[in-house]
């Protein structure tokens, strides 16, 4: 027992020394600070990268959240107390104990001189529970949101139109807003505490030179360029409580008359109007891997990332032509996209379906055949069970209590698991008609890209790129065509099970 403690200690010391040694090298590019949004106001929170991990100084957290930090020099631990609870941290271990519950952290606490640093995930995972409040960490937008502040996520899409430019803001959850022209800019103001907006830098230099978040309040400022003539704003409901703002900017001299005719640009995209809610309106196709991350590699050098992108592009074309659904690719080029971002693309666009494409690889060259996966909730233990069926009683204005369905964003897939299983079955059946299947054709696994998807989600391993024969197939137009046709068939069948639309074209017509 003593030995173990000793070896733990020496490991911790070594880790600390390594962190300290690495510290000067890491100081060069300081990462952007986080912004902490609390009911009391907004505060910047500096972040430091130590040993490849983003970390907050414990002293600053203590000031911000009124914590007491005690260092136990004898046991070598840290005790961080809120008014009611204590968090215990042990140097050298990526673990925290909150009221007896052990929580894992991506890295152990680090020390620089007298100051202690903790990984950013400490805030939502350990500090939130200890304070008895929700502290949401939105890493991509560098936000920490406390309490029940309204901070809608906004995903922006810029589509060039014959008459100018269409900007579509997907706002989740839907938030009351106004659109006004103030001189040479358009301002979209939201009834919210702050915005978590993803804005394109310069969608069209002559029409919209720049878009940015307003300096104060929750708003978006759209600068208008020299060719701007007029604008029309329309609201469209998104599903699952999200909203959509469609902003058509009409360019001068673009149309036949001198005066712009806003007519063609006024309506929201026809798909919103014509396709019933029950069908498939938006499908997100995820080409697995990309950029630095090659995925698996075939014996002849074929890369998984290239095969997945080729099939994803062809499938997009086929769906748009034949199903009339909107298709979004998580990447349309050879770039690195994080696993969270992939699910976020689907969530932010309120997709009805998420389909991730991959190619398999095995240490054994003989392994072959396609496999279809959906999420295994069992691998997420009790947490997933709770997520799948949790409701929280909330007092209602005027008295009484109402049960509100609550789900952690991270476990969004839990609610859609039955539909995912159904879709996976259809994909497996459709693939079997056209391509060779593995002996494990339909499986469940704890796949990272699926768990955060807030809609039915399936991952397809199209074949084994490590098998010389299958490598040739996966790279060939003919085999890719069979895959695309099979996936299209499965989409038609899935849409038909959801009802609301007659089949547009009989399944099975070639490309």
């Amino acid at each position: 027992m003593n030995l173990r403690r000793l070896s733990l200690r020496s490991a911790a010391t070594a880790a600390l020394l390594a962190c300290l040694a690495a510290a000067p090298a890491m100081q060069a590019p300081p990462p952007a600070p986080y912004t902490v949004l609390l009911p009391e106001g907004r505060q910047p929170l500096a972040v430091r990268v130590i040993g490849g991990q983003e970390m907050f100084a414990l002293d600053e957290l203590a000031k911000l959240f009124d914590l007491t930090v005690r260092e136990d020099t004898l046991a070598g631990g840290l005790a961080i107390s809120t008014k009611t609870q204590t968090i215990a941290l042990t140097p050298g271990q990526g673990l925290a104990s909150v009221g007896g519950r052990v929580i894992s952290l991506p890295a152990p606490p680090a020390r620089d001189g007298r100051a202690w640093f903790v990984p950013v995930d400490f805030v939502p995972r350990a500090l939130g529970p200890a304070l008895g409040t929700r502290l949401e960490l939105r890493r991509p937008s560098r936000l920490i949101i406390g309490g029940d502040l309204r901070v809608p996520r906004i995903a922006t899409q810029a589509d060039p139109q014959p008459a100018g430019l269409r900007l579509t803001f997907n706002v989740a959850p839907a938030t009351p807003h106004t659109v006004t022209q103030e001189g040479s800019r358009l301002v979209v103001k939201f009834d919210a505490h702050a915005l978590d907006a993803n804005l394109p830098a310069s969608p069209s230099p002559e029409l919209v030179p720049s878009i940015r978040a307003a300096e104060t309040g929750a708003g978006i400022e759209i600068d208008l360029g020299p060719r701007f003539a007029s604008f029309r704003a329309a609201d469209a409901p998104g599903d699952r409580g999200a909203g959509r703002i469609v902003l058509d900017l009409v360019a001068a001299g673009e149309t036949t008359a001198a005066k712009p005719v806003p007519e063609p640009a006024v309506d929201p995209p026809p798909l919103l109007e014509l396709t019933p809610v029950t069908g498939l309106r938006t499908i997100v196709i995820d080409a697995g891997h990309g950029g630095d991350e090659h995925g698996a590699r075939g014996p002849q050098g074929t890369l998984e990332k290239d095969v997945t992108l080729a099939v994803a592009r062809r499938l997009k074309g086929a769906i748009e032509a034949r199903l009339g659904a909107r298709v979004i690719l998580t990447r349309d080029g050879d770039q690195t996209v994080g696993l969270d971002e992939r699910a976020a693309v689907a969530n932010n666009n309120k997709a009805d379906l998420f389909l991730s494409l991959h190619a398999n690889a095995s240490a054994r060259p003989a392994a072959s055949g396609a496999e279809v996966f959906y999420l295994s909730l069992a691998d997420y233990g009790e947490e997933a069970q709770r997520a799948a069926q949790s409701s929280v009683p909330v007092p209602v204005l005027g008295g009484g209590v109402r049960d509100i369905e609550v789900i952690r964003w991270e476990m969004a897939q839990a609610r859609h698991i039955d539909e995912s299983a159904k879709f996976a079955g259809l994909v497996e059946g459709a693939l079997r008609e056209r391509v060779p299947m593995s002996v494990r054709a339909l499986q469940q696994a704890p796949f990272r890209v699926l768990v955060g998807a807030n809609m039915p989600a399936v991952l397809v391993e199209m074949g084994f790129i490590s098998n010389p024969e299958q490598e040739k197939q996966l790279a060939s137009e003919a085999f890719q065509g069979s895959l695309v046709q099979a996936l299209l068939d499965s989409l038609v069948r899935f849409r038909d099970t959801r009802g609301g639309q007659e089949p547009l074209l009989p399944a099975g017509i070639g490309n």
């Binding site: 027992m1 173990r4 733990l8 490991a11 880790a15 490849g52 991990q53 271990q93 990526g94 673990l95 052990v102 894992s104 952290l105 991506p106 890295a107 152990p108 697995g288 891997h289 991350e293 090659h294 995925g295 698996a296 590699r297 998984e304 696993l339 991959h358 398999n360 690889a361 095995s362 240490a363 054994r364 060259p365 003989a366 392994a367 496999e371 996966f373 295994s376 069992a378 691998d379 997420y380 233990g381 947490e383 593995s438 002996v439 494990r440 499986q443 469940q444 696994a445 704890p446 796949f447 990272r448 890209v449 768990v451 991952l459 391993e461 084994f464 490590s466």
Partner: protein, 193 residues
């Protein structure tokens, strides 16, 4: 004086015999059931003690894991035994099976919490030398999770770390942000063969 020596010798032999019979042997036998691992074998004479544990390797067709009984050095307490089992799991596969964990991967550390969650800290090779296939990634992870949980009932869940840190995945597929429970989905049973 001549008669005293043999008497003393006989008495000494009797004493040693009695000690062996009543103290040493019972103590020696009593040690075995008290040992932590569930599967134990008698210690090999003169050699270090071993237990028999089930380890997992990739089948010849590459489509499943196969459980293989192997001798693993004895370790006490549970955490020490878990280390021995994972170290054996990282070792070479018996013919004709293939190793589920990328070659060169070493065990940097192993911790067990009071709740029975084990944290298995692997070296970077687990990620950098991984072939990248989703099925092989499942095999890598569940070979370790199952080797620990099947052989050590005291450990209920396993979280894999790389280089001392929590990781999202090893090769882009399997979610490693949470401890994983025993899952024998990918293990071929006798009936399948």
């Amino acid at each position: 004086m001549r008669r005293v020596l043999p008497v003393a010798a006989i008495a000494a032999v009797a004493l040693i015999g009695a000690w062996l019979l009543f103290i040493a042997l019972p103590r020696w036998y009593a040690e075995e059931p008290a040992a932590d691992p569930p599967v134990t074998s008698a210690p090999a004479a003169g050699a270090e003690r071993k237990i028999t544990a089930t380890l997992y390797f990739i089948s010849e067709d590459g489509m499943s894991l196969v459980g293989v009984q192997q001798e693993v050095p004895f370790g006490e307490p549970v955490i020490e035994q878990a280390r021995r089992i994972v170290e054996a799991q990282l070792g070479p596969a018996p013919d004709p099976l293939a190793a589920a964990i990328p070659a060169g991967t070493t065990l940097r550390g192993l911790y067990v919490t009071d709740r029975g969650d084990a944290y298995v800290d692997l070296s970077e090779e687990a990620r950098t030398r991984h072939g990248g296939g989703a099925l092989d990634e499942l095999f890598t992870i569940f070979a370790i999770v199952d080797a620990v949980t099947v052989n050590l009932p005291a450990i209920a869940r396993v979280q894999i770390l790389v280089n001392g840190r929590e990781v999202d995945t090893l090769a882009g597929h399997v979610d490693l942000r949470h401890p994983l429970e025993k899952n024998l989905t990918w293990v071929k049973t006798e009936k399948d063969e």
